[in-house]
Symmetry: C2
């Protein structure tokens, strides 16, 4: 890396395998529509065999955020693990082609590159079966403390909490950040994930400077279904809390400058919402781009809303259009 | 295979790698926009490294035809070669998930699975760099004579003429067909390919019962730029000649019942042409579906036009909607 990156995002390296699917396929595998389920190799094999013809496109929550950050002009690195296989080559190509620095060596043996088998039912809902593959073995040794130390923000996806190896990567990233005044940003990732690993996620919040969550995740992290109360609880621990509310926009609480600023930003207009995958990832990217460029929470949240509006307007979780051009047209950059 | 297939299609197993690309990328590699160029491993590596983030989707001319035939309800097998690698797994999954029988064992060593690097420029034109990979090593030994003998039609893509190994596969398929009254159908594939291997393609025409070509290919195969004359020349050798004319529809000459029938069929209406890749492949599928089900050339060509209208209305060369349902709605099945 020739120049310091401004943001390091850490998460699972995943290739999405998208297949239009009838409703009964979701039922046949006992899946709940609209949710994400972790599957092992054998179950992934069975589900893939039952899927219709598919399209492969790179994904992964923190990797999507990195791609959006690069599209906005932030210097960004992604840390995640791929295998030395076909999907690993695809993932590596795509993230680098997005302008993201990606220097983790592919794992020569063990499980394959992670993939998310995504059934797209006729109602446009998505049911995901994720096989983390080698991605689950991201560990402390993969975190380059010097890169984290040189960055303004290290961003961690919630999916890293749970498995011991990736939890060690989180701990290493947080430790490197603490030693060097790098801010720690964290995304709650998934309501079901919050339910599964509530204690682990809550314990981490003490080290989090900037928390991203959607409404459901905020409720579950805070242990209340009252949104105002949930935000207040989370803000008691995290100096910046950004909660995305889908079409209702977002609310952000920020007490970095002493007194708490609370702002509410509407969603950026979208002609047609095609696919909401990556909406949270892209909001986080827009917000962080604003933050590392010294913007206040209002403008940063507007950038987040703009990034999300691009990503939800087409199939796939990474931007197709240049986000920096979009932001300039909208007068936000 | 439990039941006999009606059609066997033979061609290159290819995964398409689609990347939105600026015009200057096409120029930088000295490519001609809108054409297909064969590239070796090293050049494919360089071009892939320069491409933006991409989407992977199964392709291959005769494989696309097989997928369309299956979607219409024809029992169909595809013969082509993949490697035991990630793209080979993707190709195998997708073709089988389309309902096509695909029984060729993946090659355990040697080159990887074939791929087409496709630059989609802002004008929606496509520039393809194809690395045939292990697909180029399809040979006589891969042709199951019994399967060809049991079928009504064996369909060969023009891209197989040229390399010695795949030419031996063509010869084996033709020989098996001749021994058992299986009809030989052939697609000219690509005007530039016809220019490169004019002698080889012309020599093959003696064995071809059903020829598919677009206008440019017909001109070059026949050696004249007068379409009527070209069709007449080709029909002198091939009992059925189907020439596709893009938005102007198609013309078909058929003398299987003695006297030549000449028909002209308009293109099936399309709201918006998004991507013409696979138009010829899908026309051939519709026509052959009609033919193996005893339809006359007029109705068969209308089925071809209907199949093409579905495939050109979205990105990707294989059908997304059920072609048999579309054909039933249109009163063609």
């Amino acid at each position: 890396m020739l120049t310091k990156v401004q943001v390091v995002t850490v998460g699972h390296a995943i290739v999405d395998v998208l297949a239009p699917s009838p409703d009964d396929l979701v039922e046949r595998f006992g899946l709940e529509k609209g949710t994400m389920t972790l599957v092992d190799d054998s179950r992934a094999h069975d589900i893939y065999a039952a899927l219709g013809p598919a399209t492969e496109v790179s994904g992964g929550s923190a990797a999507n955020t990195a791609a959006c950050l690069a599209s906005l002009g932030t210097r960004v690195a992604f840390v995640g693990k791929v295998a030395a296989d076909g999907l690993g080559t695809v993932f590596t190509h795509d993230i680098r082609a997005s302008g993201v620095s990606f220097e983790v060596e592919p794992s020569p043996d063990g499980p394959g590159t992670g993939r998310a088998l995504i059934m797209v039912t006729p109602d446009a809902e998505k049911t995901m079966c994720t096989n983390l593959g080698v991605g689950a073995y991201l560990s402390a040794g993969d975190i380059d403390a010097a890169v984290v130390a040189g960055a303004d923000v290290v961003y961690l996806e919630g999916y890293l909490c749970g498995k011991p190896e990736s939890a060690s990567a989180v701990a290493a990233a947080v430790s490197a950040a603490r030693d060097s005044e790098t801010l720690v940003a964290f995304s709650a990732s998934d309501p079901a994930w919050v339910d599964m690993f509530t204690a682990e996620l809550r314990a981490l919040l003490d080290d989090v400077d900037i928390l991203f969550a959607n409404e459901e995740e905020a409720h579950r992290l805070a242990g209340t279904t009252d949104l105002d109360r949930a935000v207040e609880i989370l803000h008691g621990t995290c100096p910046v809390v950004a909660v995305t509310l889908g079409a209702r926009g977002s609310i952000v609480l920020d007490r970095r400058l002493g007194e708490t600023t609370m702002i509410s930003v509407p969603a950026h207009p979208v002609t047609q919402v095609v696919d909401t995958t990556g909406a949270g990832d892209s909001f986080a990217a827009g917000f962080l781009h604003g933050l590392v460029n010294g913007m206040g929470p209002d403008r940063a949240a507007r950038l987040g809303a703009l990034a999300a509006s691009e990503v939800v307007s087409h199939l796939g979780a990474r931007p197709v259009a240049s986000l920096s051009e979009r932001a300039r047209s909208a007068g936000l950059l």
